[in-house]
Subunit: 350 residues, 2 copies
């Protein structure tokens, strides 16, 4: 690889918004702006420090992880999952990305008056199955009902608590130049499954969401003694947004190799038809791991030994320099800069 | 007191609902039905066992409490608080009711496209103030945005984690016949503040919500060495619903003395005008404590020493017998049975 030759300009959104827009929840630059201008200052900047989805806290000398996510995905059911399984996987994965073993979930439902009871039963059963599979227990919950026309069938919030069983401190702050960036599998299936389902599109093959619980796979790295610097699930905003956040927080550059990153042919085709870049499309069962360059081979071997990591690859490296720029060498051998999207790519993907 | 003379019939709701109705979120019999028929069986019955809003869990020998609540209150601002302060108080209080010291909160927002940024800033500032006052830290969060017409401005979920600093095991299972039931202050202000605000009603005096963080007041009982059997905040469904839940779970009867239970004159008047029974109206800064009968005096002294407990009273006693009936001797000296409401008394009160 030689250095990037051209930059695609991707200016940060300017000024202030008078009203909330969809992109404030989209995982891109506007959501970052909301965090940095409003939530981090108000709440003491806790999240700002380590830029992790889950907080790591000390309980009598034992580290626990604590996180929350609301799910508003539309439609509620899609190939490969539903809002119930997604609500379990999303929170389990946020815990796992701190290196914690997820143990307990909460489940809080906001139901719209008139939501069919049979659908609520199906979603609840799906949550229960997903929780069982991920070996977490739903230990507390809440139900609210809003008037017809003031919700959208069902929203679910899951918060989660897990325990860190090792002493490793991971996160963007631990990322070093020369780290290898591993990606645990093929990209863009969740977003494309939702889009195809929403638009009623049929492709030659069924695109199923990759939604899955990642704790076992992620923890297998620690258990194998790999020095893990940072883990990040590739949800809203996809690989590109995750890499931008980490490069920015770590103060390093990132260079990705597009040819190495698996995207299924039918998924790539769907992205082209619908005008999406797979690098920005949400996944719900994929993560990136930052490990010291020399450990890349051993770490890949560990990941590939697990069914959810069979397709794991080395997708890139971190570089010196505080430019926090994410560059990708394309399949054609050209370079492009992956900026932070300012708009909403896929609303209500999770 | 002599025995109750008459029973008001209050049959449990029969049959199955095809669709969700507002009362499924109302804190009454329909919500209990949803819990008992759907959520408890699906999620392993964890909540069913101790019937507490928060779960008590073991982390390396240290007990923690974990809870969740979504807030959909309408309007977002009301005399004495707003959805932000309420979201902090509600979760802090659920933790405190297990005897835990609340430490950490999550904050997850579901915003409707078009929600004014200035209102979001005001709500966030209110949450931050309430968290500071309750000595908890918001350590993790999430933001989702739904399309215009698919939400109602702002919904907030807060989950919370606290630590139990003593060895007491409290809950309905620890309630014994002969326990004194203490109520920490005057009832029905939160519900009436919301209703007056919603209906644009003006009474002679302003009715402000009682919304407040209860952890210091509740923990003062443990710190004073009082043997606490059960604590319960008197939220959705009010004192009457809380007493029914506890009587049912503990397998005892409850006899309340209406004359002893403080309800402000203007609040009682508002209830009469609007057709509500103060015993069923939601509070957000009041709780009931079950303590051994002989400890009632000492416990009241402890509660009254705190600004939020100045009006604490002995409101009743638990009795032998598995009828799980809650009876109240009225001011007029007659008796009535307080059943579990099957309908929704006050929708979207929290």
């Amino acid at each position: 690889m030689t250095g990037p030759e051209a930059e695609v300009s991707c200016p940060a959104p300017k000024g202030r918004y008078e009203n909330v827009v969809l992109a404030h929840g989209g995982g891109g630059a506007l959501m970052q702006q909301l965090l940095e201008r409003l939530f981090f200052p108000a709440f003491g900047g806790v999240g700002a420090k380590d830029r992790q989805d889950a907080a790591v806290l000390d309980v009598g000398g034992q580290r626990i992880a604590f996180t929350t996510d609301s799910f508003v995905v539309k439609p509620h059911r899609f190939p490969g999952g539903d809002i119930g399984s997604l609500a379990v996987h999303g929170t389990v994965n946020d815990l796992a990305m701190t290196g914690a073993r997820p143990l307990w979930l909460s489940a809080a439902f906001i139901l719209e008056e008139g939501f069919p009871m049979a659908e609520l039963e199906a979603v609840t059963a799906s949550m229960a199955r997903a929780a069982h599979e991920a070996r977490v227990t739903v230990v507390t919950g809440d139900t609210k009902v809003v008037d017809r026309g003031k919700g959208d069938g069902i929203f679910i919030n899951t918060a989660g608590v897990g325990v860190l069983e090792h002493a490793a401190v991971t996160g963007p702050g631990a990322v070093r130049p020369g780290d290898a960036i591993l990606v645990s599998g093929d990209l863009a299936r969740h977003g494309m499954a939702i889009m195809a389902s929403r638009e009623g599109l049929e492709f030659e093959s069924l695109i199923e969401s990759d939604s899955a619980p990642l704790a076992d796979l992620a923890l297998s790295l620690f258990e194998a003694g790999i020095e893990v610097h940072c883990l990040r699930d590739l949800t809203r905003g996809g690989l590109a947004s995750a890499m931008n956040e980490i490069a920015g927080a770590a103060g390093c550059g990132i260079v990705l190799d597009e040819a190495a990153i698996p995207v299924r042919e039918d998924v790539r085709g769907a992205c082209e038809i619908l005008g999406f870049d797979p690098m920005y499309v949400a996944n719900e069962g994929r993560f990136a791991a930052f490990v010291p360059g020399p450990s890349a081979g051993a770490a890949l071997e560990v990941l590939r030994a697990h069914p959810l990591g069979e397709q794991a690859v080395k997708a890139g490296v971190t570089t010196e320099g505080g430019s926090a720029r994410v560059a990708v060498e394309t399949v054609a051998g050209t370079w492009r800069i992956l900026g932070m999207l300012s708009g909403e790519q896929l609303p209500r993907i999770c």
